[in-house]
């Protein structure tokens, strides 16, 4: 009901042209390449100990050929699924497999996270210098990208990720290190990280994603996988009625109503669906998902302060519903 009420407000409250002029948008724009979209039932996994140990064994096999000790793995799974957050939210070691392997599982989001700490502790042999720093100290981005693609194929073959993930649209993050002393400095890339989400019918599923970390020496050094169960609602084909400019306008309309003194700064916009973080399942209609922050500025008081990043989706169907998904800091 809240969404419907909000929709009515949006359609009757025009935003100022100033808000549109001051907003900033990403260089890569979301594309709605289809005239029809379907609705999807998206449901979170509730994995059993057995399911989790099977999944973790497969994920650990990405790092080492040796199988984990079954009793150790079962203990880890039970602790990860326990109600005690002190156990659930902690990295767990598997030293008999590899001295640096640690694993964490967050059941709420089916979030499996593995790091290989031994190489991530190890700095490359760079020297402090007055010369310009060179982040490419290892195999380089191109070779690391090939390792990522190979890893993605293996994850798919093992059934750890399902469906299609677009390598071409993968987001690259760089884990950088910087050291400074006596006016000299060094900077290097510790790990290349590529992030992707599952794509079905051109729609990104934000709750099913993968981040692959490739060490600067050229091997897999971290892995993070989330997943949800997705099924298409039968006979749910809906016509697309919202294009990107209109979705942007609706976003600005909402923010100019809620925060009339803020400007909107969009980092990312995608055709996507995302579960409400508080819910275990929903029937979702695809929308333009905006990842953005707000800026409140008082030039007279020299205060340029307070930004935050949230996700808001504007459904691309004729309902045009605006749904704030994830307000945060």
């Amino acid at each position: 009901m809240f969404t419907q009420a909000l929709l009515l407000i949006l359609l009757t409250t025009p935003h100022s042209s100033t808000a549109l002029e001051q907003a900033t948008w990403p260089s890569e724009k979301a594309a709605v390449l289809t005239s029809q979209v379907s609705q999807y039932d998206v449901v979170r996994h509730g994995r059993s100990v057995k399911e989790l140990t099977t999944r973790a064994t497969l994920a650990l096999s990405m790092f080492t050929e040796d199988p984990p000790d079954p009793s150790r793995l079962e203990r880890w799974a039970r602790e990860s699924l326990s109600d005690d957050p002190a156990k659930r939210l902690q990295l767990h070691p598997f030293p008999q497999l590899h001295p640096g392997l640690v694993v964490m599982y967050q059941p709420l989001y089916d979030d499996l996270f593995i790091m290989e700490l031994e190489s991530l502790h190890r700095p490359p042999p760079v020297k402090l210098s007055k010369d310009p720093v060179s982040p490419e100290t290892g195999v380089g981005e191109n070779a690391a990208f090939d390792v990522m693609k190979s890893t993605l194929d293996k994850l798919s073959a093992k059934g750890l990720i399902k469906g299609t993930h677009s390598v071409a649209s993968a987001q690259l993050g760089l884990w950088k290190e910087r050291s400074r002393a006596e006016g000299l400095s060094a900077e290097w890339v510790m790990e290349y990280q590529w992030t992707m989400n599952r794509i079905i019918d051109g729609v990104e599923f934000i709750d099913a994603g993968v981040r692959i970390g490739v060490h600067h020496e050229g091997h897999l050094s971290s892995l993070r996988i989330t997943d949800v169960k997705v099924s298409k609602v039968p006979n749910s084909s809906l016509p697309v009625t919202v294009d990107l400019p209109k979705a942007r306008s609706l976003l600005l309309g909402e923010e100019s109503t809620a925060h009339p003194k803020a400007t909107v700064h969009v980092d990312q916009e995608r055709l996507a669906v995302m579960l409400d973080p508080e819910l275990s399942g929903q029937t979702l209609t695809p929308g333009i998902l905006f990842n953005y922050s707000l800026r409140f500025e008082d030039t007279a008081a020299n205060v340029v302060n307070a930004s935050r990043q949230i996700l808001t989706s504007v459904e691309v169907t004729e309902s045009n519903a605006v749904r704030r998904v994830f307000p945060s800091h």
Binding site: L91, P99, L128, L174, K176, R178, T263, D267, V304, H329
Partner: protein
């Protein structure tokens, strides 16, 4: 030209190796501070012990912000609460301290009286070894949702300019050794922001974000818990340090956001700085249980961060 080699790190110093090589290795999953008596938390730096109690914390958090009818310095949107999980995690690992939520907090609690006469950090943010602020912020600033209950004529803005007014770990108070800023952009790495703002404090390590992050309810608590994890296989021990934990959990789930976590370490020398950067473990008190000498070397620091891009709302982006 004088050349410096980055100090090699000793990765075996936090080792619970069994005496008998045939003995079953001990897998220490939930090590607590009391398990570390035989460790050398100075990691060879030979620093004198901290004269106070290192296992103390001060957390302040703002979750409600006005959207209108208030000074612009106070305007923002409400945020989710993250300090309660941090408090619980610290207490699980033997820390004691205070947690101030909402209107009971104020920028005055992070202002050092040597910079502005009415500052109160000696009784608040700089009275405990671990300092956490959660709310909103920007490059070089922290933001509260209200000025708080302060004496008339003192604080008039919800915005705290860090460079001018915050001096953790030095001057009045002089206790803080580690800080977390669960805010947007406060640890922005551009334009020498870290050195010019957070670097004005004299503490060992500070963590935050380069951009405007999505911070889940349990992120800070998870970070703290992770730094207690020990990896022991009988011959090599690899700890989960503040650095590796923050680079991992400081990011959002794949695709949800593009968090750029930052960990910034300073010290009186490059050796002290590098050792702390690569070995400090918050939950076990390692890195904060020793003295943090002053003055710190303004030309020595270590930064680890994941560059997932900046946010246009950050001042320097």
């Amino acid at each position: 030209m004088k050349r410096h080699i980055i100090p090699l790190l000793l990765l075996t110093t936090v080792c619970g190796c069994p005496d008998d090589p045939n003995e079953e290795p001990i897998i220490d999953v939930t090590a607590t501070a009391t398990d570390t008596d035989d460790f050398d938390p100075t990691e060879g730096a030979n620093l004198p012990p901290f004269s106070g109690d290192p296992m103390t914390f001060y957390i302040e958090e703002s979750v409600n912000f006005p959207s209108a009818n208030a000074p612009v310095s106070c305007l923002n949107d409400d945020v989710n609460q993250v300090g309660d999980w941090a408090e619980a995690a610290l207490e699980d690992h033997g820390f004691v301290g205070s947690y101030t939520l909402g209107g009971a907090g104020s920028p005055i609690n992070f202002i050092d009286p040597t910079t502005v006469g009415f500052g109160n950090d000696g009784n608040a943010a700089d009275s405990a070894r671990v300092t956490i602020y959660a709310g909103h912020g920007n490059s070089g600033s922290l933001q509260w949702g209200s000025i708080g209950a302060v004496p008339p004529g003192t604080v008039t803005s919800c915005n705290l300019p860090i460079a001018n007014q915050m001096r953790l770990g030095t001057a009045t108070g002089d206790v803080s050794g580690f800080a977390i800023y669960a805010t947007s952009c406060t640890a922005n790495t551009f334009n020498n922001n870290l050195r010019n703002t957070l670097g004005q404090s004299q503490i060992g390590q500070q963590v935050g974000w380069h951009n405007s992050p999505i911070i889940s309810d349990f992120l800070l608590g998870s970070f703290i818990n992770q730094t207690a994890t020990s990896v022991v296989d009988g011959s090599v021990s690899l700890p989960v340090t503040n650095r590796t934990a923050w680079m991992g959990i400081g990011q959002s789930r794949p695709g949800v956001g593009k968090n750029s976590p930052v960990i910034y370490t300073t010290g009186a020398s490059e050796l002290e700085t590098a050792e702390r950067h690569f070995t400090a473990r918050l939950a076990l008190g390692i890195g904060i249980s020793d003295d943090i000498p002053e003055p710190q070397d303004q030309n020595a620091d270590n930064i680890s961060w994941v560059d997932n891009g900046c946010s246009s709302s950050c001042i320097f982006c």
